[in-house]
């Protein structure tokens, strides 16, 4: 047991202090450690493996939709940031600067990339000549850095891992199609891979990406009612094309600016899935990303060990061969009860109990991490039964999270209603908004909530602005957010 883990004796209950619960849960399960660098964490093997599963599945989906990966430099010359006005204003305050290297002061400072629109824009202007070169559909898996004031493991760290898609198209229609396609890839992935229900919609102008024409997002609700923006997709128009002179010769032999998009998700998805599914016993990991999907625990009196353990091992190997990420824990120095707690705390979706009585009956007992259901199953059907329970755990996680989202979601007409709901019970509200930045700001000042997005499928359309009462241009989801 590591020194760090020993420090966390008990996990603080969620109801007592949700933030404390979160830190306790991820530290005790050894997903991450704080590093000696301000705001940077170490992704330990179990934390990183969640990211590997996320990566593999998203990468598959990106490639299926015609994208390829590439890699662009970490360093971005200072002058690049000056080229797109909104972009520089948005990112400048968060940049770390390399000013010296190889024993010399640099002539031009280099920023560590916070995102790569500028560098990639520059390269695209070299690569793109003609409509025959379009569309360019590229994704990058990389580390990025933003010097954040307040940090929280996974959700907001100085350095984080992400993917950033950057595409260039002949016209607005094609670029907008791409923007929406990738948003839909994210929604489907969040719901069907991470078991996180999300609200899809468009960001208000004040919340959009620095340099975008339109930003779209998927928003998830954590168990404390706060929002996490789980993925974004931007239509950038010709803003970066103009800044970086990305032109092509069109079908009529005319020079045109390309239309670009960008879209990304990051390791904050790990934070989101923990805050959506975890409970007072610790993590509860969605089966498709869990480093360990099932753990076999032999039980029963010591004298039966010699019979039970070898048969349990057989089961373990059978499951492993079938591609299930399985562990066996036959350590005689720890009690079954201790092990049950340990693997529940680590979020393992399915526990397989196996004792002498089970062996006699040719069965094992599957226990669901999320519902607690105990299901005796025949040993000769163990693989399909474990698969079935993994599916059930995913479904239960999703429907629990969906119910939670629905029961903490309120449609309101007045700012007082909004305030009293958000004070009494955290969650999201849906309401009307006139479209003015002033009204949006006032909501934030009075309630602490910000606009999450303008949902594509609101539960109801509102006709009046929640602040000024004039005609609502949009029906908006507001919530406090990470």
């Amino acid at each position: 047991m590591s020194k760090e883990k020993q420090f966390v004796k008990e996990i603080t209950p969620q109801s007592e202090d949700f933030s404390r619960w979160y830190i306790d849960a991820i530290s005790k399960a050894e997903l991450m450690s704080y590093s000696p660098v301000r705001g940077c964490v170490v992704l330990r093997p179990d934390g990183y493996e969640i990211w590997e599963h996320i990566q593999r599945e998203l990468d598959r989906r990106f490639k299926e939709t015609g994208h390829r990966n590439a890699y662009f430099p970490l360093f971005i010359p200072e002058s690049f940031f000056q080229k797109e006005k909104e972009h520089v204003e948005g990112f400048n305050p968060e940049l770390p600067w390399v000013t010296e290297a190889g024993g010399e002061k640099l002539e031009e400072r280099l920023a560590i990339r916070p995102t790569s629109e500028t560098m990639i824009g520059h390269m695209y202007s070299n690569w793109i000549n003609s409509y025959r070169d379009l569309p360019v559909l590229i994704n990058q898996w990389a580390n990025v850095v933003r010097w954040e004031k307040r940090t929280l493991p996974f959700l907001r760290t100085t350095e984080f891992l992400w993917q950033e898609g950057h595409t260039a198209h002949e016209d607005e229609a094609d670029a907008r199609k791409e923007t929406m396609q990738m948003l839909e890839v994210y929604r489907d992935f969040a719901e069907n891979f991470l078991a996180i229900p999300v609200i899809m919609g468009q960001k208000t102008p004040s919340e959009k990406f620095a340099g975008a024409v339109d930003t779209y997002s998927i928003e998830a609700m954590m168990k404390d009612g706060k929002a996490v923006q789980a993925g974004t997709s931007h239509y950038l128009g010709t803003n970066f094309a103009q800044a970086f002179d990305i032109k092509y010769l069109d079908r009529d032999n005319q020079q045109q600016f390309v239309h670009t998009t960008s879209w990304g998700v990051s390791t904050r998805l790990i934070g989101a899935l923990i805050m959506v599914h975890g409970d007072d016993r610790g993590l509860a990991l969605p089966p498709k990303v869990a480093p360990t999907q099932a753990v076999v625990i032999p039980i029963g009196p010591p004298k039966t060990r010699d019979q039970v353990v070898p048969r349990a091992e057989e089961m373990f190997f059978e499951l492993k061969r079938a591609g299930i990420r399985v562990k066996i824990d036959d350590n005689p120095d720890q009690s079954p009860g201790w092990k049950f707690n340990e693997y529940e705390m680590r979020g393992v979706p399915v526990r397989i109990e196996f004792g002498p009585r089970d062996m006699e009956n040719g069965q094992a007992v599957l226990v669901s991490r999320v519902s607690g259901e105990k299901r005796p199953v025949k040993l000769d059907a163990i693989v399909e039964e474990v698969r079935k329970m993994l599916d059930d755990v995913h479904q239960t996680m999703y429907s629990n999270a969906k119910s939670f989202l629905e029961s903490n979601f309120k449609i309101v007409d007045t700012i007082d209603e909004m305030k009293s709901f958000l004070d009494a019970q955290r969650g999201f509200v849906l309401t009307g908004w006139c479209g003015s930045e002033a009204c949006e700001k006032q909501v934030k000042e009075e309630t602490g909530a910000t606009s999450r997005n303008i949902p594509f499928e609101p539960a109801e359309r509102k006709s009046a602005c929640v602040v000024c009462g004039s005609k609502a241009e949009h029906t908006v989801v507001f919530g406090k957010s990470y």
Copy 2:
């Protein structure tokens, strides 16, 4: 066609100017582009995909040998470098420094990692308590930065991608076993995946990693006779354990320092495989890493297109379903001859020609990129025939490279012999060495060659030092290197 590609009209012949050939070949095949940041290149999709295949295969091998991935911060506090004396001397001149961030001057400068022994050592000292925590077997896939004076795409760039394994063990024996195991993983990978024959051995003290007790390497010979160090594995003893206080309670309840190792390969493998296999027509990619393994090219007069193309597409889909990375090029605007050149230049291992006569005969013609062999095969056996030719291409590449290495390898007794061999014909020499740094230095000064390694299996043991003539402690491979 991109602007960059248009600049490269013809690929310079290798015999005329090997360096020029290399840059032409990788630029024209669009593996990389120069970036606006000094010494940094962009890995374009075909270049990056080679890295993805390398990554996937190595990652599989690392996991098979019990390792897991993790992720550590990009930034390393300046004080960390001071803790291991040799390490700081080795790396300090190459470090870029972040001195400002978030609009403020930093109290302590942060280096961009050139390698992560120090950061990981710090974390291990927190994680490791007892012999029960050992061994720790962790690998990281990451970008690293070294501010090199002279750069060359893939082989030596300011920023590059790599993996760095970092392990901690109870004792020297276990750590040394790990060091050698990973060196063997690299050798097997280089030879059986990249078709690059390598010389395995130990580095001389002057060439070892800054902070290592012993460094081992695999060395490959490029087509210009120069060496590329293709992978290294280090036994670090307790050097980093002492610097970062990584102690554990042993089985006798005594505090002990752990013994650590580190090992890595990088995107320079891409440079190596190009320089080992490429020729005057351009790239020749080993089938296991080639982004496109086979390309189907329909041929014949225009009037037969309507029959030939649909059948060629069927073949394409059959190969694709079988998991072969295949393309079809039925663009009527380019001649077959142009396409043959294009895909040879891009290094595609197998070309599949298919015309009306072939269709009548129920066959296609496979052409090997490396031997030029044309092999008519039955359409109903196309998948296995293409697989077979991919294997043949791999084998031919390996044996060609092996012959090249052997015919440019000379055993010498005197420095004059060494000089005249290296002047007349680039390559490696094997000779005796007394073990003194002075003699090693003199070899470099007189011949330009450095010690590559002390091979485990020298072709012959030498008894006298090539410089001073006194007793040879080692038989060493010398060569000029990238």
